[in-house]
Subunit: 221 residues, 2 copies
DNA sequence: TGAATTGATTTTGTATACAAACGGGGGATC
DNA sequence: GATCCCCCGTTTGTATACAAAATCAATTCA
């Protein structure tokens, strides 16, 4: 959990455990660490110039989040899911996202509205430019904006965790430029339902949006 | 001395960290450890006859689950929520439960059906007997049966965690005997919607069920 | 030749120690 | 009498060491 804030001079206030966890997360997201790959405590300890203790803490945290899995006496690995499992994880994620959309539709503030619209504008821009990397980032921001708009940090937390967890499997889901435009249009439909404060429609819209993107993710993995 | 003390011959594989975490969970659920109460590493270490290391691991796991919170350099405490926060936690929980009901309605197997019916039978029995403790247990089993019936371990995991997390605040929610009957009747309505495989109705039914019980919980806390 | 035993290595869990950072209390200063 | 500062205890994070259990390999025995 977040310890404290910033660094002053030489030494960071963030613990080594956090730093390592963050670094590993990034490497996993970036695909440098592939699903199924082994992570050994001692090796990581040497690599980061620390002892096993903070490494263990980082690993156990990521394991609790489902990013890593513990093999039976054979070390810790980057989580690797079968198609079946992946499908179930995405199902859970879709339900959470739909719940978020539902709540947002019920409790929509002006600020959230602006934030969501801004994020969507970014998405459209990136989609029209055909910039895949930019779209990935903008899409992330769009969904995060919705999580925040729920006004419910607990819901937001779960949704974020799922997003993180599925990151490695969603990264390659946007094949061509038309897929970006499709996604952006799907966002717009969702926004319309949310802004009209129809919670049932918003929930369904989100589920539809997620489903289409999921199908592409499955094809890619 | 490491982990020798427990196993005489066979394999007792649970670690001290797990044992301590479990023990703490039970004490919290039982209300022996009240929200806001401090847990000090060294004290627990002595109490369980171990060193700080496994205690730390147990505490950090429970902290990650939101059961405990880390005070600012003043130790770890049993999570204590304001009415506001409690309200949001329950909202999140309700959405998860609703999602489960929705999924179950879409994918209902015979086995799950039987299990849910059996759990509900127990609930009715306890409610009619006016046995509050038995009803609490039966109610737990009923909801767990629904989680399992989703066929989605990831959804189940989240739902279970929320149930655990809110345990201390739900324990006293059933005031009188008529409240038990009310809850059991609410279950029945939910079951009807699930069994008719109407996912939207099931989801709404669950939300209604949870809302009524939540209101009672809020009154109690 | 195949199976079982055993020894070594790895992995995991725990103990203990140490260092840094924060908070509070007591004393000094005005 | 109030305020400020310094010191000290507590808490937290990390390092290192050790012990048990499990895996792997090799060797031995049937």
């Amino acid at each position: 959990m977040p310890r404290s804030s910033v660094s002053s001079t030489g030494h960071n206030r963030i613990s080594a455990a956090q730093r390592i966890g963050q670094a590993l997360l990034e490497e996993i997201s970036a695909g440098e660490l592939r699903p199924g790959q082994r992570l050994e405590e001692i090796g990581l300890a040497h690599r980061f110039g620390v002892s096993r203790t903070p490494v263990r803490e980082a690993l156990s945290r990521l394991t609790a989040q489902g990013i890593l899995v513990q093999g039976e006496r054979r070390g810790v690995f980057v989580a690797q899911y079968t198609r079946e499992e992946l499908s179930l994880i995405f199902e859970a994620m879709h339900e959470i996202e739909a719940a978020c959309a539902r709540v947002v539709a019920q409790r929509l503030g002006l600020l959230s509205r602006t934030e969501i619209e801004a994020a969507q504008a970014e998405c459209v821009k990136a989609a029209e430019a055909g910039d895949r990397t930019a779209y990935l980032r903008a899409n992330e921001a769009f969904h995060m904006a919705i999580y925040r708009a729920t006004g419910n940090p607990y819901l937001r937390e779960i949704a974020s965790e799922f997003r993180q967890r599925t990151g490695p499997f969603r990264a390659k889901k946007f094949d061509g430029p038309e897929s970006l435009l499709l996604s952006a249009r799907s966002h717009q439909a969702l926004i319309n339902d949310i802004f009209s404060e129809d919670s049932a429609a918003a929930s369904k819209s989100m589920r539809d949006h997620m489903t289409t993107s999921f199908i592409q993710a499955l094809k890619a993995n």
